[in-house]
């Protein structure tokens, strides 16, 4: 290797990583120019989502979880009129880069409302007389999230959580491992869906750090 080649290798080596990071940030702000809209239009400039509209926070979610959701929008096991075309317009590399990008973002601060009372019991104790375990048994204490398969619910948009519970009920979302969520969600009444969604939305999640 000549001195020049060595120098070139040194300079060029970090580029692929830098390029991937740039791609994700660009897609978030401008879209990918191939049909995928800028993510921030709905998920916010900081990845915090738009709670009132039911657009979920992505900042700090597990990268493998985000990537699987994008893949599942693209393959149809998770159905959504907005996300399906967008995910389908992203390449596999772009989905991976976006998942990594959002997982690395710090969790934005969110207003914590007093938790709705009716949801607390279901969330923390469940109702085993109907075969319903407590939500926190899998989603972690306070809904903090566990690993790549049990996303955090704490501080997530109540409208989003409720819409997902209804999607599990209706079968428009069926990308859950072992059908755990479809089975659980189908036991819930409409009132319970809203109550439990409200409880998790009101749970504190420390701002400023990425969550598992």
């Amino acid at each position: 290797m000549t001195g020049l080649q060595f120098l070139l290798a040194l300079v060029l080596a970090p580029l692929p990583f830098a390029a991937a990071a740039t791609d994700a940030a660009t897609i978030v702000q401008q879209g990918n120019g191939k049909g995928a809209a800028p993510c921030m239009a709905c998920h916010g400039t900081d990845g915090g989502g738009m709670a009132v509209n039911g657009y979920p926070r992505l900042a700090g979610l597990d990268a493998a979880y985000i990537q699987r959701q994008l893949d599942d929008f693209a393959n149809g096991t998770r159905r959504n009129p907005v996300m399906q075309p967008n995910a389908s317009a992203l390449s596999e590399d772009e989905r991976a880069a976006l998942a990594k990008y959002y997982s690395a973002l710090p969790v934005p601060a969110h207003a914590v409302a007093p938790p709705a009372g009716a949801g607390a019991t279901l969330a923390t104790q469940g109702d085993w007389s109907r075969g319903l375990p407590a939500c926190v048994r899998c989603h972690g204490p306070g809904g903090m999230g566990v690993g790549a398969n049990f996303p955090p619910l704490a501080g997530q948009s109540a409208a989003y959580i409720a819409s997902q519970l209804r999607a599990w009920q209706q079968g428009t979302r069926r990308n859950d491992p072992l059908q755990l969520m479809q089975h659980v969600a189908k036991q819930l009444t409409p009132q319970e869906v809203d109550a439990v969604a409200g409880w998790f939305a009101a749970q504190p999640l420390p701002a400023g750090e990425s969550r598992p």
Partner: protein, 317 residues
């Protein structure tokens, strides 16, 4: 593991159901007065008469005041044992990992199914045990820790919680849903390690991890470790295949109990129980002697060779 003799299986299925049903004494043993009465009780419990049903009171019904405080403390110890009884706990398990819904759930060895059948003669230690002594055994084996004194806050709070959950339940009889549903639950074929590994990968690794070590979130235990240094030791009831298979069949995957086939439940129970875990605290100097003394049953893999490894020879530390 080779074939399980069916007749022995039947005896053991009854004998190992030690949580709730008084045991039938093992053959060739001297039969004490206590054992004789236990045998009569066992005969009565296994008669075709329907087992009484029982529903424990809801958590919201725990009374106010000092008694309620003690019940709540017992419940807290039960559901987060390492946090509230840490000096007696040697692993990352909680009571409620194997007794679901804070000890309330039928077919998950509920506390209300155990409370009314103690004091009880137990072959495991050859004497009549009070309920408190039975709890001590849980700490020594399942929690891989040490027994809290009978008059300790931990034991008294747990007893108070169990008593409260059992209020109104008939005593001295096996209730419907007590223990794990082992009666008549047999593997169609002898349990198999390789099949069990496949069942595990498909149904269990999601929560318990491919390595069986469970999962935590921010250092807090969420999914319990199934083997290794942070799980129950070789003396715990769950290391016996019939207990594990019945628990798994009735309760796993979590919230999807009853969905595994009988064969899958037995195979995956064997897979779980064919991994190393902390040594039996009654270790008698070598594995063969310990097996002869405490594990002389086809329901225990301790001291047997599975997948080329002599179980118990390299206990987890």
């Amino acid at each position: 593991m080779k074939h399980l003799p069916i007749s022995l299986l039947a005896v053991l299925a009854l004998a190992a159901c030690s949580r709730q049903v008084p045991e039938a004494p093992a053959k060739n043993r001297g039969v004490s007065a206590a054992a004789t009465s236990a045998m009569q009780a066992a005969g009565a419990a296994s008669s075709p008469v329907a087992e009484p049903a029982f529903t424990p009171p809801p958590a919201a019904a725990i009374p106010a005041g000092p008694l309620g405080d003690e019940i709540r403390l017992g419940r807290a110890i039960f559901t987060d044992t390492g946090e509230h009884a840490h000096e007696y706990v040697g692993n990352r398990l909680s009571c409620s990992n194997c007794h679901l819904d804070a000890g309330r759930l039928a077919n998950s060895a509920p506390l209300w199914g155990a409370w009314g059948v103690y004091p009880q003669y137990r072959k495991k230690n050859g004497r009549v045990n009070s309920f408190g002594e039975r709890l001590q055994g849980c700490f020594r084996f399942s929690m891989n820790g040490k027994a809290p004194p009978l008059d300790s806050d931990v034991i008294v709070a747990l007893e108070t919680y169990a008593w409260w959950l059992s209020k109104g339940a008939p005593t001295g009889v096996k209730l419907a849903g007590a223990g794990y549903p082992k009666e008549g639950f047999k593997p169609p074929q002898p349990p198999d390690y390789a099949r069990g590994a496949a069942v595990y990968a498909k149904n269990c690794a999601l929560c318990h991890g491919a390595d069986g070590q469970g999962q935590q979130a921010d250092g807090r235990d969420v999914f319990p470790p199934l083997w290794g240094a942070q799980s129950f030791n070789w003396g715990a009831g769950m290391h016996q295949l019939d207990n594990a298979a019945a628990f798994i069949k009735a309760n796993m995957p979590f919230s999807r109990g009853g969905t595994l086939s009988d064969q899958d439940a037995w195979d995956v129970a064997m897979y779980m129980d064919a991994h190393e875990r902390p040594q039996d605290p009654r270790y008698a100097g070598d594995v063969a002697a310990t097996r002869a003394k405490y594990h002389d049953t086809p329901m225990s893999l301790y001291g047997t060779v599975v997948d080329g490894h002599l179980l118990g020879s390299e206990p987890s530390k």
